[in-house]
Structure formats: C-alpha cells, structure tokens
Symmetry: C2
Subunit: 332 residues, 2 copies
C-alpha cells in the first residue's frame, strides 16, 4: 500500500485537491469551505493517517523548515550542547537541524555548505573555519540567512554571536597569578582561528600586566593532525620546564592534557594549576582541578536562533555582532 497523496484523498472523497489542500492548511473558513466538507476531510485524513509530503511542499513553497548546523565536530561537547539547545528552540518553531562536521577542513566545509544550499536549507548556523571567505561572501551577497558563532573573521561582515575572548582570558590568568602562579605555560591548537589568537593575546597581556616574563618557548602549539600525541609531548615539555600553571585555549586540548597529566605526571597533579577556556562538566571532578572560562551556552543558543529568525524574516540586510560575557569558574 503506497502512501496516500492529496490527490488520492480528494478522489476518494469526491472532492478536488484544492479543497482538500485548503482544509489541511487551516484555510477552510477563509476559503469558505462548508463545515461539513471540512469535517469530512479532517475525519478521513485522521482515519487514514494521511501525512503530507514535505518535500513536495518544500519544492512548491521554496522553504524547507530546515536549518543547517555546521561545526568543526558535532561530538565536541561544546558544539553538541549548543546543537541540542538550538534543536529544542527550533523544534518549537517547526524547524529541524541538518548537521555537518568540518574537522576544521576547508574542503569539508565547502562541500557541506554546498550540500546545505542545494538542499535548500532556510538558514545556516555556523562555526566556520573562515578559510574560504569566497563562498561565504557569495552566500552573504545573496542574502542567504546565516549566523556565525564561536569564531569570527575580521574580513567577513555578518551576524556573529561571540563571547569576549581576550579580557576573559586575561582575567582568568590574572586570577591564577594572584593565587601564586609564577611560571605559566600555554598549550593551544593551531591558532588559525581569530578567537584563539585573542585568547592567546589575553594570556600575554596578563603576563605583561603582572610583570611576568613572556617566554615564547612556553607557548606551545600542538599539531592538530596528531593532536593526542602532540598534546602529550608538549605538556611533557612544559612540565620539564617546571611551569606551575598551564593555560589552555579550548576544551579539547584541556581534556587531552588532563589525560596526559594522569599518565605522565601524577606526581605534579596537586602542584600545577590548569586554566581552560571553555568549560566542561568534568572539570568539577577532574584531577587536577581546572579553573575554566565558561561560555554562556544557553544564551549563545538563544541568540543564534533569535538572530537567524530575524534575518530570515527581514528583507533588509542585517549584520549584528553580539558579544556575550563568559564566566570564570574557580575551582582551585
């Protein structure tokens, strides 16, 4: 038994597709369809459990009620949580999420962007690598509804929901210094992303302000392509240099360092201070404890959807840049 279409329903009831369509779309009254016809249709539709084909609807109306969610890695807790929050608020509006992970690779990002566009998503929420501005600029020129978060690119004007990076990092490092840290290393993934650069700047500024030596040798960049091993090596390097604190620029690298720490430097777990941009629930019970800069994910998610919604409505060009305040969570 094939799926029923509006045509089937109409035939079986001896009505026209038009009438059925009107009623199904709650335009029965407006279109002067008699009460009994309306009831007849609704009853029948319920009886046979008719389900409209959204693809056909989408083709006709040019809108899919689908939003693309493009991030480096949907399994990263930060993106997963924001994804979940977005999913919930979008679902209330009848929108759903098509997802895509880029692994920070431009080719993947481009392919996914094309995919999203071809599938006629109504809008895009993205943590872009910003390596191919061309494509993004083209979309932007076509007024394709997009809202960016987590990262920004100075040369790309668009809608951004961001958090304060530099000052938040500076304050977190200040706190560590006030608590006694004197030799502070830094571990970061490749800072090809502007936000990461800002975080590193914050670290630098704190050292300067506190008259600590800014030692480039203590700022270690891990090799993204072999991130686990590289983190381990660089952490070892820092521990050998006897740093009393390590600053991390995102949650992924902090988690890896926690792992490496438990393997190679158990003895120093209680004497070293970890400071991480991005929070993870596990920092509450990790060993060592971590002071973290928590991004306000609920607020980020809400703003993302709000702005996207606004952009999808309005015909004028919108370019908002909203910067939210992260919160330092002190655990040690």
């Amino acid at each position: 038994m094939k799926k029923k279409s509006i045509k089937d329903i109409a035939q079986e009831l001896g009505l026209s597709k038009t009438t059925v369509s009107f009623v199904l779309n709650n335009k029965g009254d407006e279109k002067n369809i008699s009460k009994k016809t309306q009831e007849k249709i609704l009853a029948y539709v319920r009886e046979v459990n008719y389900q409209p084909n959204q693809i056909a609807k989408s083709l006709k109306k040019g809108t899919t009620h689908t939003i693309g969610y493009l991030v480096p890695d949907i399994s990263n807790p930060f993106y997963a949580k924001i994804g979940r929050l977005i999913e919930d608020v979008l679902a209330d509006k009848g929108y759903h999420l098509l997802i895509g992970s880029t692994d920070e690779k431009q080719e993947k990002e481009d392919a996914l962007l094309n995919m999203f566009v071809n599938r006629q998503v109504d809008g895009l929420i993205l943590a872009s690598t910003f390596e191919n501005l061309g494509m993004l600029k083209t979309l932007s020129a076509q007024r394709f509804p997009m809202v960016f978060f987590d990262r920004e690119h100075p040369d790309f004007i668009g809608n951004y929901i961001l958090v304060e990076n530099k000052n938040a990092m500076k304050e977190a490092v200040n706190t560590a210094i006030n608590k006694g840290a004197k030799k502070i290393g830094l571990l970061s993934i490749t800072p090809n992303i502007y936000s990461l650069k800002l975080r590193i700047d914050g670290y630098r500024e704190s050292l300067v302000e506190n008259q600590l030596n800014v030692d480039e040798d203590l700022m270690r960049i891990v090799d993204n392509s072999r991130i686990k091993e590289s983190t381990q090596e660089e952490l070892n390097y820092l521990m050998d240099k006897d740093v009393d604190a390590v600053v991390f620029t995102n949650n992924q690298i902090t988690a890896l360092a926690l792992w490496a720490m438990n393997i190679n430097h158990k003895d120093k777990i209680d004497s070293v201070r970890f400071v991480s941009f991005d929070n993870l629930d596990l920092f509450d019970y990790s060993n060592p404890k971590v002071n973290s800069i928590a991004q306000p994910i609920d607020s980020i998610a809400n703003h993302l959807v709000d702005i996207l919604h606004e952009v999808m409505q309005s015909t004028e060009r919108v370019s908002k840049r909203i910067v939210l305040e992260p919160k330092l969570i002190e655990r040690l």
Copy 2:
C-alpha cells in the same frame, strides 16, 4: 539574481532540459550526447556555478539521501560520538543526517518520527524509547528502513545493533568484588528500557554468584525529571549506608554522581569504587576513578550504517540482531 535552474541553463545554451540533465548526471555518453555538447554544458555549469535543487530531485526520485538520527539526547557524549561516526561514513556515500532528540519522551519521539517520515528520509537510525510500538510497527510493516541501537524491545522485531549488557555488567561487578568490594550499591535512571534491566540483572547475578547479600534497598532509582538533585540524594543515601562500591547503569548517571561525590563526599573519594556502564573519556582523570564498560562505538556506528544500507537496498525483509562485546576498562 535568482538561482539558475536546469531550464535556464538549457535556454541559455540553446539546448533542451533533457540534454542538460543527462550530462549533469554523467549519462552523457550513455545517452549519446556529443562530446562538444557535453563540454559546453559542463563548462557553462562551472562558470555560472550551477547548483541543482536537491528538493526537486528528491521529489522526482522519491529519495532524499537523508537519514534520520533519533536519540534521547544528541548532546550525550555517547550519542554525539556515534552520531559523528555515522555522519562521516554516511557523508562518503552522499547521505546526511537530520537529527532529533526525544528526551525519552514518547510524544517527542512520535512527533520526530512523523517529521522524519514526512520529510521522506531514506532511513532511520534510532535509540528508541520503545514506548509507542504502534508507530514503529506501522513503519516496519511498510518496510521503512530502520536500524535500532542501544536499546531493544522484546516485542519489536527489527534490526538491532546492541552490546552484551548482562554479562558485561556481571563481569565488571565481579572484578570489583575480586578487588575487595563487599557492599555494593547501584544507581540507575528509571529502567523502563530493556537494556537497563539487563544491566541491573548483571549486577544482581554477580552478587549472587559471589554470595553477597542482594539488598534491594541498595538499588536506587533516580527520578528522571529532576535527575541532578535526585542523583545527589540517592548517592547520599548509599554513602550513608557505607557502601564500598557503586554501580551505575549509564554514563549520564555516573557523571552526575561524580559531581555529587566531589561536593558531598570528598572524604570518601579514595575509598569508594565506581563501576559504570558506558565509558567516558573523563574517567581517565576523574576523581574518583571509574572502572567502566566501554561500548565499541566505532563498530556500532559501522554496523548501523552497513545494516541500514543493506536494508535500503534489499526488497526482502531483513531483521538482523547483532550483539557486540563491550570492553571493561580497569582504572583501579
């Protein structure tokens, strides 16, 4: 400038839609389109960066190259990771994921199932709550391609990728007992799911086999609707009873208990033994350490896609039940 359609391309090149369509779908040779025409089309298409409308394609072909991924919570690391793995292998085949989180609520699950079906997804990968067998059975009767994982329902025949629950749990508890645990509590979310029941059975069997007292009072079920507070209360209860080990039936509850432990029972962190079904990376550096039963997520993801693919191909009814072996990770 509106998006170009095949019709535009055809007109601008003085050809028919058919010819253009054939060439775009690599049927140029097969359909005897001359080399020069083919080249002309391809060059032009590249020049204007024509992008086919997948919605139109989908309507015509009845296939969307979209798979629905329905889970309790996409931000749970277990589902997020499997989601990511699936995304990657599906992307290679040109498929993409539409996601939906149910929060274990039947209404949400039903709504999402309808949504997926209306959007004509080609298949479904689901960790169902199995509270509404009716809907699932209807889909199954229509041969809708579905593969289930993480949970199963004895009354529902379908394709399942599962892990061994009972024996894995039994062995994990045995290990704890061998290492000295004598009074072992259990903390679980509401075991309305068959897999959870099996895990609890495993715990029970281990106690029996080891001639330990099976005390129902030490088997605590938390209230899902206020899971954080409830976990805290129940953990407190068990600690007051002086258990020397606690068994958890999934990662979510273990993570919450770790948090509660660090708030309320710091003193006992080194004397209590945690055993968790499901692994989390953070168990490597959590405090207390946790022995965990790690599900083989890569293998689960691969099987899910393989079987789904198989089901989508074949016209016969397939019902495979694949049970994978989890692995006990000992950390203490």
